[in-house]
């Protein structure tokens, strides 16, 4: 079927099998490999993308559901500066600075989920951040430095970084 949607701020038109997983279409057809498959059953969150600003497990979404929607993958989270330089999202920068990424396989999903969460709940405290992140598994960090990073990212967005 023919689909039209926004992907990382660009209009896209695709002719694809409607029941293919969004994750596969992103990785195989569009060569956006930042979304990872950790489990294939919506448990780990490594394939998280934002659909209309909300985090979704792309391994559970038939691509037909995208028609008319706005998709953001990890490749579209950082912005291009005026000189073409990469401007990281506050969450991405904090994950780098605070050691919130180790092996990195969960990081795209965590960055997208957390960025969306902080947009919706800019004043989320540590306990709330733990709830908001509970759909994204990380096996490396014990989550401590991820939560530290997100607290800092929230603070940066409010104009007040400790970094």
């Amino acid at each position: 079927m023919k689909l039209r949607f926004r992907l990382n701020d660009e209009d896209k038109e695709l002719d694809v099998e409607p029941f293919r997983r969004l994750l596969d279409v992103l990785r195989e057809d569009l060569h956006l490999t930042g979304s990872k498959e950790g489990c294939g059953e919506g448990e780990c969150g490594a394939c998280t993308v934002l659909i209309d600003g909300a985090p979704v497990n792309s391994c559970l979404v038939p691509v037909a559901q995208l028609d008319g929607h706005d998709i953001r993958t990890i490749e579209g989270l950082a912005r291009q500066g005026t000189d073409g330089e990469v401007l990281l999202d506050e969450v991405q920068q904090a994950l780098v600075s605070f050691g919130g990424t180790q092996c990195g396989i969960c990081t795209p999903g965590i960055a997208l989920c957390a960025s969306a969460a902080l947009t919706r709940e800019p004043n989320a405290d540590r306990a709330r951040l733990r709830e908001l992140l509970a759909g994204n598994l990380c096996r490396c960090t014990g989550y401590q430095l991820i939560i530290d990073a997100l607290v800092d990212a929230a603070s940066t967005r409010r104009g007040n970084s400790k970094r």
Binding site: R27, L32, T33, G34, S35, K36, E37, G38, C39, G40, E41, E43, C44, A46, T73, I74, E75, L77, A78, V86, L88, Q92, Q93, L95, V96, S97, F98, G99, T101, Q102, C103, G104, I105, C106, T107, P108, A111, R126, A127, R128, L129, R130, E131, L133, A134, G135, N136, L137, C138, R139, C140, T141, G142, Y143, Q144, L145, I146, I147, K162, R163
Partner: protein, 755 residues
């Protein structure tokens, strides 16, 4: 946040940004399944599905279109049909007529243009097996009614003896004897990236790239399997999404399969496991049963320990002898005990082989000895800290193998640091606490432990790991080592060490791709050795290079404070320059494999962990309300990376203690999915309080020693002790799931079972 100035050398002890941070947060880091491989087909593995039997026949369905499918069997193996490791007893593919020893044995391989097509082809292969009686539990292996390895099912037996000729009488005379049996289950590493390999042939050279910890282990295995000379096998690590030991030995199996398929198909092959296959087929932590008798005098001084360690090794020898070795070398704990007898056995069962997982045998025996110390503390009415202080190893004391500790002994320091932290307020409790119903009972548990850094005994001498640092024409310096970054931060830490030693900024340090065609064998990325052993080689090579460059600067009137410019000048005018360093053990490190005596490890890390729990009396739900971990790391090269290692390991240990069960039925994993085989989420995890203790080790870079594994050792015993404190029932198994606690509470009325 300390941020290094871009022109200055990287500092030691700060927290500069990880060198691999930006690619990872932007999704541009390329893991094996992200690699472009034009024309690649996808592989799949046909497995036996019986725990034991004889492989009678393999047939292809006549009504299936096999034209776009490649099938590989043991007949296609040019070299030896083994996955080379310690004993070379595990086949790559079971041949027709051969013995099947567990349910996940590979019998044949297929490849097709898509994953779906490969799976469809698998479904059209028919296997006939003559099933034989199987051994799938430790008890059955012990009885040996069915012998699946030699006549006693013992894969390996190791013993430690210290003044133990009459240990039974000594124990009989002790004022107190604490006796217990401790069972710990299998644990899945659950790296978030499943295992996978990309293989291709270029002429007669086989090239594989994959998610792996030890490029030279895979290289050795492929050379043997494919019957090729060393230089016709090239193994490269892709960015790897976690390992924790799980990608130490099994990648050799997958790489062999991918290489065989690629040869048969004449095109690149991607063999990427899905989660179900990864959980079912790859290695896990060894299930263990430890029987422990501990004798104390009336004052609480330890007198004797008699310890029996059983590990379930699974169907082949694989790494079990060395896991057993580390298990028994840690079994007496970080205590002064005059009389010790330890007997360890790794038993064969018809389950997929158990293998490397952070801690490598030590968590199992640590659980046992610290549960014993908790029971002794209660039985004798001696405070938990005091009992440890009364018995712990200090500088000048010797371990059960007679190793005299002299350097970097942080035993008192970690306990003191932990008890000082207890005076401070706890952090705000995690969100989960609100879900507890009343009535709630609370308890506290302490665990104290040590962990040997680096390979056991003479292992580091035998490995003789090497690192090369080369001057590039650009004035950059390239570090060539086979150590892999699996998330633990090796790339950043080696950059810091090199930057410091050469006095050049981070931008001047280049880490070579870990590929066997570019880097020397620095030994595997295991055993808490990468920073301490290989990092020290990086430092020595850089210092030797700096010496040569300073001489070059003096001879050519160059500014010796800018070694990058000197290096560029040196290469331009006098040709290539590189330094290679090989591991040299500190003097006096003597070990006997025959008697199991001497210096078991170059040095030990030390840790103390305190856990407070709340237990819901109705639902038996356990919430960790506080977890403090004080760890002596020698020196933290990178503070946040070290904290991240400790916190990640601590949560894996809390998971093992409370939630992470891998049940088997007749040799089959019953929960091969992330939905059923759970690991902790951010909402399950407590706020982790990490306290770094730094007792520098003279032979580590800047004083650093191992940190990767020690956080896995203690927390499970701390959790079990805390639950015991809360409920008054002996908690001698992990994981302590609510249903397990429920049975314990029914079987053991509170208090009566406690000494």
């Amino acid at each position: 946040m300390s941020k290094d100035h871009e022109d200055a050398p990287m500092t030691i002890g700060g927290s500069p940004d990880r060198v691999d941070g930006v690619p990872k947060v932007t999704g541009t880091a390329l893991y094996v399944d992200d690699l472009e491989a034009p024309g690649a087909w996808h592989g799949a593995t046909l497995r036996s599905d019986v725990p034991r039997g004889r492989f009678v026949s393999l047939t292809r369905a006549a009504d299936f279109d096999w034209s776009d499918v490649v099938v590989v069997t043991a007949d296609d193996i040019a070299g030896q049909n083994v996955v080379a490791l310690i004993e070379d007893d595990q086949p790559s593919l079971v041949p027709v007529g051969g013995m099947i020893c567990h349910r996940e044995e590979a019998l044949a391989l297929v490849a097709a243009p898509t994953r779906a097509a490969a799976r469809a082809a698998l479904a059209h292969l028919t296997v006939v097996v003559d099933a034989l009686p199987a051994v799938t539990t430790l008890d059955a292996a012990l009885r040996a009614d069915v012998a699946v390895h030699n006549d006693d099912n013992v894969l390996k037996r190791l013993e430690i003896h210290r003044n133990d000729d009459d240990i039974d009488e000594i124990l009989a005379r002790c004022a107190h004897v604490i006796e217990g049996t401790y069972e710990t289950g299998a644990q899945e590493q659950m790296y978030i990236e499943p295992q996978g390999i990309l293989a291709e042939w270029r002429g007669e050279t086989c090239r594989v790239t994959g998610s792996l910890q030890c490029p030279y282990y895979v290289h050795k295995a492929l050379v043997m399997l494919l019957g090729l000379p060393d230089d016709q096998v090239v193994v490269t690590q892709a960015v790897t999404g976690g390992g924790f030991g799980g990608k130490e030995e099994y990648p050799s199996m997958i790489a062999g399969h991918a290489a065989l398929l690629a040869r048969a198909a004449g095109r690149p092959i991607k063999l990427i496991y899905d989660r179900a296959e990864d959980i079912a087929a790859t290695t896990k932590r060894h299930p263990a049963r430890v029987h422990h008798r501990l004798g104390l005098d009336a004052d609480g001084q330890l007198v004797a320990a008699d310890i029996d360690v059983l590990l379930d090794g699974g169907a082949y020898v694989t790494l079990s002898p060395v896991v057993l070795s580390r298990a028994i070398l840690h079994a007496a704990g970080p205590y002064r005990i005059p009389h010790v007898r330890i007997v360890g056995r790794a038993l064969a069962t018809n389950t997929p082989p158990h293998g490397a997982f952070r801690g490598f045998g030590a968590p199992q025996t640590t659980f046992a000895y610290e549960r014993q110390m908790q029971k002794a503390s209660r039985a004798l009415g001696i405070d938990a800290f005091e009992l440890r202080r009364k018995n712990l190893l200090r500088s000048g004391d010797s371990t059960a193998t007679g190793q005299v500790l002299t350097d970097s002994v942080g035993s008192d320091a970690v306990l003191d640091t932990l008890s000082a932290a207890l005076e401070r307020a706890a952090p705000p409790a995690a969100a989960r606490l609100g879900s507890l119903h009343s009535p709630v009972r609370r308890g506290r548990g302490l665990a104290f432990c040590f962990h040997g850094s680096g390979f056991t005994g003479s292992g580091e001498q035998r490995l003789a790991g090497r690192v090369t640092v080369a001057c590039l024409p650009s004035g950059d310096f390239e570090i060539r080592s086979s150590s892999t970054d699996i998330g633990q931060g090796m790339l950043t830490i080696f950059s810091q060490i090199a930057s410091q030693a050469l006095g050049v900024p981070a931008a001047r340090i280049v880490l070579s791709e870990p590929s066997t065609e570019r880097v020397p064998d620095s030994g595997p990325t295991v055993a808490s050795r990468t920073c301490m052993i290989v990092g020290r080689l990086v430092e020595r090579a850089c210092l030797a290079l700096a010496e040569q460059l300073r001489a070059h600067a003096a001879a050519n009137r160059l500014d010796a404070t800018d070694l990058a410019t000197v290096a560029a000048h040196r290469v331009a005018h006098a040709g290539p320059l590189a330094e290679t360093c090989e591991h040299e053990s500190p003097p006096g490190v003597e070990w006997s494999d025959e008697t199991y005596t001497g210096a078991a490890y170059p040095v030990f890390g030390w840790a103390a962990c305190l856990v407070d729990v709340a237990v819901d009396e109705d639902t038996r739900e356990v919430v960790v309300e506080r977890c403090i971990h004080a760890v002596d790391v020698g020196r933290a090269i990178h503070r946040r990376i070290v904290e991240g290692q400790i916190e990640g390991g601590t949560l894996q240990a809390l998971g093992w203690a409370l939630w992470e069960a891998v049940p088997y039925d007749d040799g089959r994993v019953l929960n091969p999915s992330m939905t059923d085989c759970i690991i902790p989420t951010s909402a399950d995890a407590p706020e982790l309080e990490t306290l770094l203790v730094e007792m520098p080790f003279a032979h580590g870079p800047h004083g650093a020693k191992g940190v990767g594994e020690i956080p896995m050792d203690g927390p499970a015993a701390a959790v079990a002790g805390a639950i015991e404190d809360a409920l008054g029932v002996a908690c001698d198994v992990v994981p302590l799931l609510p249903e397990v606690l429920d049975v314990l509470l029914v079987d053991q009325p509170p208090q009566e079972t406690l000494a």
